[in-house]
Symmetry: C2
Subunit: 314 residues, 2 copies
Amino acid sequence: MTEKLREVAAFFKAHDNFEILTHDYPDGDTLGSGFGLCLALQQLGKNARVITTGVPRDFTFLQKGILQQDFQAQTVVSVDVADEKLLGCNRAAYEGKIDLCIDHHITNKVKAPLKLVDGSAAANCVILYKLFCEMGIRFTREIANNLYTGISTDTGCFRYTNTTAETLRVAADVIDIGCDTAYINKVMFETKTRKKIALEREIYDTIEYCCGDRCAIIAVTCDIQKKLGIEDGELEGLASLPRQIEGVEIGITMREKAPGDFKVSVRANERVINAAQFCARFGGGGHAAAAGCTVKGSLEQAKAQLKNAVEQCL
Amino acid sequence: MTEKLREVAAFFKAHDNFEILTHDYPDGDTLGSGFGLCLALQQLGKNARVITTGVPRDFTFLQKGILQQDFQAQTVVSVDVADEKLLGCNRAAYEGKIDLCIDHHITNKVKAPLKLVDGSAAANCVILYKLFCEMGIRFTREIANNLYTGISTDTGCFRYTNTTAETLRVAADVIDIGCDTAYINKVMFETKTRKKIALEREIYDTIEYCCGDRCAIIAVTCDIQKKLGIEDGELEGLASLPRQIEGVEIGITMREKAPGDFKVSVRANERVINAAQFCARFGGGGHAAAAGCTVKGSLEQAKAQLKNAVEQCL
């Protein structure tokens, strides 16, 4: 890892005119990586800009201090992008043109001559922190805010199982530099939109339990989505809700994509039931703790199929 | 601090037959401190037991590995107890008898010949970690679980503004020892009781906005509490809900204690409105960001008084 960090640091010194690619449906880690790296490169006197598919309002503060530079791009770097497919509307322009890929997904499939991939890092921003140390970057408040945002959002504020002792120590170093944890934590973890509240309110009415309350199912129908004006990104985080209910070993979230067509997300206590095997019954797949599939039929028909399968598996 | 830690470590070596006092309405930090210290003292060959006002079900795992010892108490230690008033039903038996007080509340009022109080520690368990290092305690998984529970619960899993770089570094050390963060985080931060869900569902229907949506008010009436069978401890965390709504600068939670008698909790963006000054209008008080008061009248009357006051303050 140290050798690879040195190689990548040397790469940045040797090149200029960077375009930094982030993934579609941008989150705190890809944007924190992108804008953090852009700030670091500009500090070294390089030209750099970040290419996104849009910056959600809550993340616009990450751009603070970035210079708008006019230049002809020469070097393409991707951050937190596990696969070129995930570049969204930028895929056509950049596929096959990535010179350096920095990522923390062990399954990374990006084709690039130079790759810095560390699957043990809870967030891509953990890798960038180490890289910046190697590059001798002066850690400003703006860079620290980017790194903290990436690390905290990818770990659910240090709550998810990907959090390690190293994650906490890197976050501690970033806090020592001086970042605005109070603001970032408030915006990222303590704020709900009014629409989210209205959505939870509706969804609570749809909770159904089965198998002696060891399974909970929620359903977001087309009607609910239409009534509340819900769009794609606004259902983020919903899949974890039913499994959070006390005693629930398997939580199922049904989302009606079109009338009679349900996208199903399953979260399970993997010591009790395997979510991937469960979803395989419906032609889906995933991991032991989190998987997905599609079920068709009316809400009642689809739910009955899922309940039957749960009863057979539990 | 180092000198004081040495003094307290010497105190433990020199004494025996310990009773460890925790505070009433016990939380993760007082119980983690209590059971963690008990395990450490028993490891040193001492007799020790923890005195509580009851251990909530979610915290019973903290007692794992503790020996039930029969002995005549000689030394009384309080942990995370800011005031002897907070001993609940154990106050009468122990008031004025505390030999050593270990706490992280800067306002600590306990009378004891030896006190180890560090207001900069995010959790009392941070102090205990340092103390155990000084005492040469062998960190077992059980001790680590106690310390991690205290640190994580008192910081909202490292989300609250009391979290510092030191908090994260101590937590990292505790994780390195080997504690069950996956289990603890799931139980403490990812689990909602069915009653809590039902309560949120009811409360969402009571949300009212005023002052251009900069204020949100929720009300837990006697009717709701009766309908759901809600008891005192089960309203924990509710006061933060209205302020979490996007754009809300002051969040007000009204809880009807008896018909026409409302306990009011106020959470505010202190840069915009001072919660303590707001509550002082109703004879209450507290901090700039969090305060409380009592308002009497029917729900509508009480709410109208609060709204009027908000309009004058904002």
